[in-house]
């Protein structure tokens, strides 16, 4: 860390992978762009939404990404607020992922508006009793907190890069320090203090306002008894944490393999794995309790909604994705200590949860709209249209692009931590990572 010349280069290690990756994103963006154009020119008629089931894929993805963000953020607080050992390595990653997720979430919200041109209205007119009104503001505040945190967590490294590296990257990092270029321990300490403070503000914001609030969004909908339960916001937060932890775990491995090439911290992986498993268990338990309460209530709407979830036309998404990918597969993988400590299984478990939780979100949003709010009204039906899928792919690609660019450009990995890993670099390949030989054309 005392090196004067900083060999700061956080880009992809494999040039060909990089090309392929960005090419893939470009394709997704192009397709998403076309779909967005359809969305805009055809309006909401381009969706498969109806007045019977007015919320669909976009809302599901929106709450999914909010959850991902909140989860990632909470993991980051483990590092910077609760100072859980080893987690500092993933602190900025988690924060950055949280920010990007939030951006994607808001993109989804925006796309979902019947009047996209009026996206600023919630900041002009409000409604005290509207969870959504509060949420919109909470999101903005939350993004503010995240950015603040990331700033304080990263500023010293930014300053270092600005000071020691060259070219546009240095200039960019310099700009991002917002002029505070001091890299002294004192200044680092100040940053840390502020980081913690922001984190403390952020925790309730994330739990209660952002994610709990998003749960509240649904829970207050008395018209839909399935959502209208006190447990609902809790489950929301829990599953958010599940997805956030999973994401961070996966990102940790992937970043080490693809970008930094550092040695994996097996203890950290173990810890993340255990955390993830615990969260998954909690999620499954809460969901089961909720289901039992619902089924026990004998409230016809709730019971039937659960029946739709469990046995309806889309029950495959519950069994295969939610239960299979979201719960069973990760639990099986994570129950094994050595798998927790290995890159591929852990990544697999993480990604599996990340995908599984998408189904959780769909299963939250869609089934309660299938049953009519009143006997005598038609049953709903919903499966996303091509435009909905493709715009979603595009928006997710935007997130991936932002994250990739950030990961390539920003010192998301603490520079101190990085040094010690240099020695192990070659071993990355044996871990199943991507070799740093050849093709490294940066």
């Amino acid at each position: 860390m005392a090196t004067t010349e900083l060999d700061y280069d956080s880009g992809f290690r494999n040039g060909r992978f990089r090309v392929a990756w960005y090419a893939l994103l470009a394709v997704l963006l192009a397709v998403g762009g076309w779909a967005t154009w359809r969305r805009i020119s055809l309006g909401m008629a381009s969706t498969n939404l109806t007045s019977v089931a007015p919320w669909g894929a976009w809302v599901a993805f929106y709450i999914y990404f909010v959850g991902l963000s909140a989860g990632a953020f909470l993991v980051s607080t483990l590092a910077n607020v609760f100072e859980v050992e080893g987690l500092e390595k993933i602190d900025r990653d988690a924060l950055f992922a949280a920010i990007v997720s939030m951006v994607v979430a808001l993109l989804f919200v925006w796309t979902d508006l019947g009047r996209m041109d009026r996206m600023y209205h919630p900041f002009i007119w409000r409604q005290l009793t509207s969870a959504l009104s509060w949420e919109v503001h909470a999101y903005v505040a939350y993004i503010g907190v995240l950015v603040t945190e990331l700033y304080f967590s990263m500023r010293v490294d930014l300053a270092r890069v600005a000071a020691h590296a060259e070219g546009w990257r240095a200039r960019l990092c310099g700009l991002l320090t917002l002029g505070r270029r001091d890299t002294s321990a004192a200044s680092a300490e100040t940053d840390e203090r502020w980081l913690k403070r922001a984190g403390l503000v952020g925790i309730p914001l994330a739990i209660f306002m952002v994610h709990g609030g998003t749960g509240v969004l649904f829970a207050v909908a008395k018209a839909r008894p399935y959502w209208n339960s006190g447990l609902f916001p809790v489950i929301f937060v829990v599953s958010a944490v599940v997805s956030g932890t999973a994401l961070v775990a996966a990102l940790y491995v992937l970043r080490s393999k693809l970008l930094t090439g550092e040695t994996l911290d097996r203890d950290l992986m173990d810890r993340l794995g255990q955390l993830l498993a615990a969260f998954v268990l909690a999620d499954a338990a809460f969901t089961t309790i909720d289901a039992l309460i619902a089924l026990n209530s004998l409230h016809p709407h709730e019971v039937e909604t659960w029946l739709v979830v469990l046995f309806g036309e889309m029950s495959w998404s519950f069994w295969v994705f939610m239960v299979g990918l979201g719960w069973v597969l990760p639990l099986v993988v994570l129950s094994n200590r050595s798998w927790r400590r290995s890159a591929v299984p852990l990544t697999l478990a993480g990604l599996s949860v990340v995908v599984g939780i998408v189904a959780v979100r769909f299963n939250i949003v869609v089934p309660p709209q299938i049953l009519p709010v009143m006997e005598g009204l038609p049953h709903g039906e919903y499966f996303p249209s091509a435009v909905e899928w493709l715009t979603s792919a595009g928006m997710i690609a935007v997130g991936l692009l932002l994250y990739s660019l950030g990961a390539e450009v920003l010192p998301l990995r603490p520079l101190d931590a990085r040094d010690e890993s240099h020695a192990d670099r070659p071993s990355a390949a044996t871990d199943g990572g991507v070799s740093d030989h050849g093709g490294d054309d940066r």
């Binding site: 309006g43 939404l49 019947g114 009047r115 409604q127 008395k222």
Partner: protein, 338 residues
């Protein structure tokens, strides 16, 4: 939010006026009394004096009774019949500042100010202090759906948007089978969940009880649809009947008194959420809502629930009366008779 003034502490007891608020209200409400009064043929001075003293009343420096006793004669002399016919504005609703006895001794009429204002505004329309409601007699409803189609014709809603539907329920086994037809317009809930959730307060409850959707403000988030326990809200996907019906997009309805002209691609209400407006534009011009006018079973009735003597109030009070999903706490202004 109306009535919720940021500076008003909850500890303050009612009827103690808050001067700051009042000054603001004077400025806001009676924009420029002098200018306003100058436009009339009446004495500007008197008007201004009255306005000034009104502020004193508001500040608690003058009692309402004294105020009106002071100006009664002068006002009567000045405004003549208009004064005599016009109810005293201070005995309106909760914020009454004049005792009824004093009011009755005054030269002006006793009654609701709003009613006069409104009746002056539109000669034969309603008074302005109504709470519009509906009573639907299920014994009489023959489930014909004439209301549904009348509503489509009146409000020119697009495919998939039907402010009113008639739900059919069948009970029993052959041959002891019965059916109930339950027409469902918007309930114009007293505590409307749709309004509670709207992030931009585009949908809100008007003083006349009607839940309005401001098509210019609504962002189309559809949260209100999720929240409505009656499935009474519909999203306008921009669909139309142009293929089949010549000129169908040319005619639109002045919902909430606003005529938006021909339906054009992408223009509101396309992209907005829509619902039964209680045919407010028709009520204002003295016509029953389209569904009530046409009701083939003579089952639907509309009117002022604030007026205890109105036909609908009486029906809503009857022992046969009930509301849909009473337990939801929405307190619909649409009542049913069983």
């Amino acid at each position: 939010m109306s009535g919720v003034d940021e500076s008003a502490e909850p500890t303050r007891t009612p009827s103690v006026p808050d001067t700051a608020t009042l000054d603001r209200m004077v400025d806001a409400e009676a924009a420029d009394p002098e200018a306003e009064l100058a436009k009339t043929e009446y004495s500007t001075d008197l008007g201004v004096a009255m306005a000034e003293d009104a502020k004193r009343v508001a500040r608690g420096e003058l009692s309402g009774d004294d105020y009106w006793e002071k100006y009664d004669r002068a006002a009567e002399a000045e405004f003549g019949d208009d004064y005599r016919e016009t109810p005293n504005p201070a005995i309106d609703g909760d914020g009454q500042t004049v005792s009824r006895e004093t009011a009755e001794g005054l030269g002006c009429a006793v009654g609701s100010m709003d009613s006069v204002a409104a009746s002056v505004e539109s000669e034969d329309g309603p008074d302005g202090d109504e709470k519009w409601g509906m009573v639907i007699d299920l014994q009489k409803c023959v489930g014909c759906d004439s209301c549904t189609v009348a509503c489509k014709a009146e409000n020119r809603t697009p495919p998939g948007v039907s402010y009113n539907v008639v739900m059919e329920e069948e009970h029993g086994e052959f041959p002891n089978v019965t059916r109930t037809n339950v027409p469902r317009p918007c309930m114009q809930c007293e505590n409307p969940p749709c309004v509670q959730v709207c992030p931009v307060s585009a949908t809100y409850k008007m003083d006349n009880g009607v839940v309005n959707v401001d098509y210019d403000r609504c962002i189309g988030c559809r949260y209100c649809m999720i929240a409505c326990p009656y499935g009474a809200r519909y999203f306008d996907f921009g669909e139309n009947y142009d293929d089949e019906v010549t000129g169908s997009g040319e005619v639109t309805s002045p919902e909430y008194g606003v005529d938006r002209g021909p339906r054009e691609g992408g223009e509101s209400p396309v992209g907005n959420v829509r619902k039964c407006s209680m045919c407010m534009h028709r009520l204002n011009r003295g016509e029953e809502p389209a569904c009530v006018e046409t009701c083939v079973g003579d089952a639907r009735n509309a009117g002022d629930l604030n007026d205890p003597d109105s036909d609908v109030s009486e029906m809503a009070d009857s022992t046969r009366s009930f509301q849909l999903k009473e337990s939801e706490g929405t307190d619909p202004n649409v009542y049913y008779l069983k």
